[in-house]
Assembly symmetry: C2
Homo-oligomer: 256 residues x 2
Amino acid sequence: MLINSQGKLSHVDLKVTFPLTTNNMRVACSQCNLRELCLAVGLDDDDLHKLDDLVTKRKLKRGQQLYRAGDAFEAIYAIRTGFFKTDILTEEGLEQVTGFQMAGEIIGMDGISNEHHVCNATALEDSEVCIMPYDQLEDLSRSIKSLQQQFHKIMSREIVRDQSLMILLGSMRAEERIAAFLLNLSQRMHMRGYSASEFHLRMTREEIGSYLGLKLETVSRAFSKFHDEGLIGVQQKYIRILNADGLRALLNHTPS
Amino acid sequence: MLINSQGKLSHVDLKVTFPLTTNNMRVACSQCNLRELCLAVGLDDDDLHKLDDLVTKRKLKRGQQLYRAGDAFEAIYAIRTGFFKTDILTEEGLEQVTGFQMAGEIIGMDGISNEHHVCNATALEDSEVCIMPYDQLEDLSRSIKSLQQQFHKIMSREIVRDQSLMILLGSMRAEERIAAFLLNLSQRMHMRGYSASEFHLRMTREEIGSYLGLKLETVSRAFSKFHDEGLIGVQQKYIRILNADGLRALLNHTPS
DNA sequence: CGTGGCATTGAAAACCGTCAAAATCCGTGG
DNA sequence: CCACGGATTTTGACGGTTTTCAATGCCACG
């Protein structure tokens, strides 16, 4: 039974996801309840089993890194459970968070271009990933058209996601960014069957700020302001969305 | 002979690039002097000809749009000559530039994810593109491994590029952003055989500002300041890089 | 029960945006 | 070829937003 780390039962249809082979590092895409989010979209049973054959899994403790900038690129990863951040160390030694990823999302594609990863991927809670060796995935996607298409869509989606963030960073004020961030998190939790209206942040204020191009104090102040206005409940990392429309309203009319 | 729109001769090895077929919309990747930047990297002659067969070309006048947000996604495009911008209209009706693209670069991959383009692509000078119908390209890349690999690398490079811009937008000050922008342009001109130290900007101050998350006045002020400091020469859109190391120095030590 | 990381809050300063006016450029048409 | 008009750019003064610096408080964890 899929339980997230808060002990909250997911709404999605859940089945015990046992390995299909004797090797307990194996995992079956065909049995995975995240397959509609993942590379497995659109694959028939036969092809799903071929995908199964190249996937292994790995558990990570909170704080562990899945890969680091500079590591040779060998695989892309599908998050089965848990929560990750990706970040880059700038030349001045500052950390910049480039994304937060949750179950069903694919990470590591930054490494394809020069065969080395350009960012770090760190588990922000105990997590489990599917490892998909890239050369095998390439081979398989030449023989399975729908796998090829899905892979391309996932890469393209990453491009589009990055562009949304560029717009956020390039054109929104601090409070707009934070409202957008909360609404985005809320929606992604909801898509995965969790409550859209209350959740635990897995990251610090500093990591949120780094992601949004703001200082941690600014993030904290915006949370406090939203709290005072009755838009959200804030108790440290526990967030309740009390007035989602109110948050959305902050995004629409440009105040200036 | 490849002449750019300023009449400046490119340094790269140049040949007359005649169409290989009677259809003068055809164009030969095998004869293209940009093939080392494009999808054709790593293809042998035989495979190059297969790629030739699916490529057509199109000319655009300055100001014409190659595709618009919402258009059905049909093809990706390699820029043969000219200069483009991609931008998105935000919900509030503000334009946000997401990139400037020049010869040898591939655009349109944002459309793969939902089969519609999410941004507009506009020629900033008279330009010519290679049209690569996406379904045919997918088919071909299933039969040519090196084409598949190159295509994946190009998509990944786009992801990495977007992440660099996220870092710029998230962690740099106005003058750092503009120094980085000028150095990036300079380097890309140089890679294409043009002078790294003098070039014409194809875009307005407002478009630069939109791209960098700044207002046009801030861009103008930074140009003036760099000019006063002897780092660059500025005459409207004509830019000379007088002290590239000085510009780079602005990026390294964080002033605060 | 203390310790250290994390978060909150305040005050002051820096940075960039806004508004406004003038200058320059470019394309067009006379 | 030159004059005109609109778009673009430059520059200044001011104000708002966010950062910076600093101090305090909170919580989780050993």
